[in-house]
Symmetry: D2
Subunit: 310 residues, 4 copies
């Protein structure tokens, strides 16, 4: 099976976990989602991230989701394995790697503060998971309250050879990408693949700063694919035009705590999810929010006709 490396690029779509109205896993919708992601030509998938409602699944369900996706696709699949302890992390990692995952993603515990604590944490992760498991470091201070400087990321790259990718979602983050790439160019830091999150909110400029692509779950992954390819091809204005058409919705989807409801609503409207159900403590959109999202969708369809939702 393909594994992620420090050269991986493109779009890794973060898949939401579909549920039936009674809260059980909806594997039929998951199959449909996977087929859709293949159709729109993403380069990989990410399962069980924060917006995949990972903490709400039991261990058995987590494995079930990963197994279902890996049966359906040959795309590389990154799996979120963050856990309060190394034991649980290791058990899940071993199972999903055995199933054929392309790597695992690990978020830092919110208690980490100092540079040494952060580097130490990922060093232990690397040792525990084993040298042959490619690791994605998730750098998301807004959610995890852990701030990693470019220097710290460089130290992790040096001390943990199995770390191959940074899921970049610091905010602001543009200068950080430039600093990392400059440090790599200077030979100070080993190269990492940098895929950007934050719902895509800065993807237009992240690409020109040196990012390798996106890893996020915006409800129109086609847009992510297009922006990444147009940017890579040097068609900057075109990339921005397309991006700007989507930005009102991207911005609306990027509301903490509400964003996943928006995402599931749109994916349901698009016929990919059968239901927009979240497990507790998630909630569906209010009637007012539905009106607003539908208004944004109608406006979007006028600017990007391919984004028409029936």
């Amino acid at each position: 099976m393909p594994q992620i490396t420090a050269q991986t690029s493109g779009v890794f779509a973060i898949a939401p976990t579909p549920f039936l109205p009674d809260g059980r896993l909806d594997l039929a919708s998951l199959d449909r989602l996977v087929d859709f992601y293949e159709d729109v030509q993403v380069d990989g998938l990410t399962l069980l991230g924060q917006l995949g409602e990972a903490p709400k699944l039991t261990h058995q369900e987590s494995v079930e989701v990963v197994a279902a996706v890996l049966r359906r696709t040959s795309l590389p699949v990154v799996v979120g394995v963050s856990a309060p302890g190394f034991g649980t992390m290791q058990v899940l990692t071993d199972e999903v790697m055995a199933l054929g995952a392309a790597g695992v993603m690990v978020a830092p515990p919110t208690s980490l503060r100092t540079d040494d604590q952060i580097v130490g944490y990922y060093t232990t992760v690397g040792t525990r998971l084993g040298a042959d498991v490619p690791i994605v470091v998730q750098d998301y201070p807004l959610t995890f309250s852990v701030v990693m400087t470019p220097g710290v990321i460089g130290r992790i790259a040096t001390e943990v050879p199995s770390v191959v990718m940074l899921k970049h979602e610091d905010w602001p983050g543009l200068e950080k990408i430039s600093a990392l790439r400059a440090s790599e160019a200077a030979g100070t830091t080993r190269r990492l693949s940098v895929l950007c999150g934050n719902g895509g909110t800065f993807l237009d400029f992240e690409m020109s700063r040196g990012a390798d692509g996106a890893m996020t779950g915006y409800c129109f992954p086609e847009l992510l694919v297009d922006v990444v390819r147009l940017s890579a091809a040097g068609a900057t204005d075109q990339a921005h035009d397309l991006f700007d058409a989507h930005l009102p919705l991207i911005r609306y989807e990027q509301q903490p705590g509400t964003g996943l409801a928006v995402r599931k609503h749109v994916l349901t409207r698009r016929g990919l999810l059968a239901h927009d159900t979240q497990r507790a403590p998630g909630r569906s959109l209010t009637a007012r929010e539905v009106t607003e999202v539908d208004y944004l969708l109608a406006r979007l369809a006028r600017r990007d006709p391919r984004a028409k939702v029936d």
Copy 2:
């Protein structure tokens, strides 16, 4: 002098504090800014907020800035008086109210956690500042880590009669506006003026949710004025069209820690500030950021010709 009330509406522009390259106050630029705000027909000004670099001024400088603005304009002026202790807050409040300020804005200390602590804090503020000083409560959890539910805001409104306005910048915040307005309609909560911040990022929908306007410092206050007036006039599509044209720049300006540099850069490009200087620990834009902002300005000018910057 005019004071703010629970019926105040429109746009209160948050003015940055202009500095000379050596860090001294630049009162000439401040005069120019004030004239500009009058020209674009904002409804009021806010001084010494977070993005007015208030904590970087000495007490004497703070008073000097307020006095200079109040000499120049008859617009209502709200002054940020947040301080680690009530003594300092009271001294500054007394001075600026004597100079003719329209009210004061108070942010919650980051140590507050429980509902009772928050209500208790504003109760003490109200008592200390006196019944005749109109107070704006700043609700900005992203920066202050203090989360106020609609119920807590309602309790503050009940227990502190001098609180007349909410500077709303929770994120997400749309449902909160609806909840507050519903509670007012039900007679549970006393009406407060609700002016929205967050750099204007959600102003398009905040107006239809029931906000009375905006209090923020986006570098094109004309846009805020237009969106508020178009929304109030029911010209929703037009308001969104204009808003969407500005959103790529609004989004770029709303980066924590970087946003003020963007704002000062654009205001300098617009000939309003003589310099984009910030006091430490602020910084100017990097060359790369300047390129990006200028690119956004050029794109903006094509969609909103009035936003052309020479």
Copy 3:
């Protein structure tokens, strides 16, 4: 099997989880510990708390520890089931209750801020775990950053009938116990059993404030048992004399992050644990710390001869 109720009182010893030097569970030491706790006449046990290194165990190991203890003793056993999601919490709860646990303990997620969020969380916990599972609310702001007022605890008691006990370890916490008991006396709040943690640091006064006992893991549980019984019997001076003799060690053991190493060291010195091993990221005492603890043990033995360690 006995279950905890709102009338439960006495000492629930928090058992550390014993490991072999290679990190595997040491069930022989666990048996020895359980026998020891019975010998010193504690009233119950608590497993898989923070200081039981719960997050470091896999699900299977967690169940194994609980099963081993329940095979060995007929004391009531409370099990920590805190988890990032309700699914995992429910699976563990169902298993340990089926094995005969007396109740479960749930800590609040560190993301909770407002009163409503806290009450809402425990309401969901109560609904998910089912009406017949007695719940202990863990009130430990120093570790979890969640502050519960007496009013919030009262609301939880009202809205979640299966909550029967408060593990009280707010700091400071004496006035909180008084406030809770006063609220119960006034009929405002349903009675909860209040067992105190914090390593016992304030147990001398907590008892006279109205606590029902202790739930903590101090390395001399005999002291906890004595202080609780002497206090209950009105022998206040005697309780304080004994407590004061232990306070230098209690204080030393109550150092965040270091305390468990002290505790495991002393329990090893006492012949109860075969090893003082912690799983990563825990550590053993440094040589210097060993010297200090041994010095404290020697001094303690002179003041409380029963606390002599060979």
Copy 4:
């Protein structure tokens, strides 16, 4: 006037700020306190710390307190000058240094996270205050949420020559003192004076770890003086005996938020303060707390007859 240096040792008593019942400064009590501190032979004083209620004073009052103390004593006096901005910090520093202060103490803003941010902050402080103002770095993570590793403290020592002292109150902190001293011995870190805070809770062992003394406000500074001198003289057992007698009260006084009320109560009982008044949001002890403190005082007087309070 004497200034603090990297060789300063002994006890710097943190003086509370005395208030009259109506909240005005009580300078008569302040004089009495200063005389008392001289009588018990402390080596210096610290004014306007957290427990000096510094944030509750206006600038003018702050200067008034410092001036009054410096008129009364020739002891070296450290002044807390922490402020949200450098402007205010600098104005206060200039004034108190001109009055004859021995140095200033600066706490880190709670927003600092990374190693570089912390070092950068103190570098700016050093530059702004000027090379001739001796600086004390306050390392108090429990209150400020800023975690400084020994390495970071070493970097500050290297990059900011005017930093001469560490107010050490990390918790746990014993290993940190050893690490700092080892780093100094190895020539990696420039020597700093290390005076310990935390109300004295670990002073017994801090001295043998290499601390130079204490900087804290325990209500019996005589005890701090004795423990420091006995420890320095190698009379370890005697130091511990005395310390242990006070520990029940030290522990009670070290309750966050409540501790200052205890301290002011005891200093009032001792005839040094005329009133135990705190400014809002402080509070006096409840009747129940008074009973508990008086009980502890009575017990203490039996173990340390010099600590008798009439």
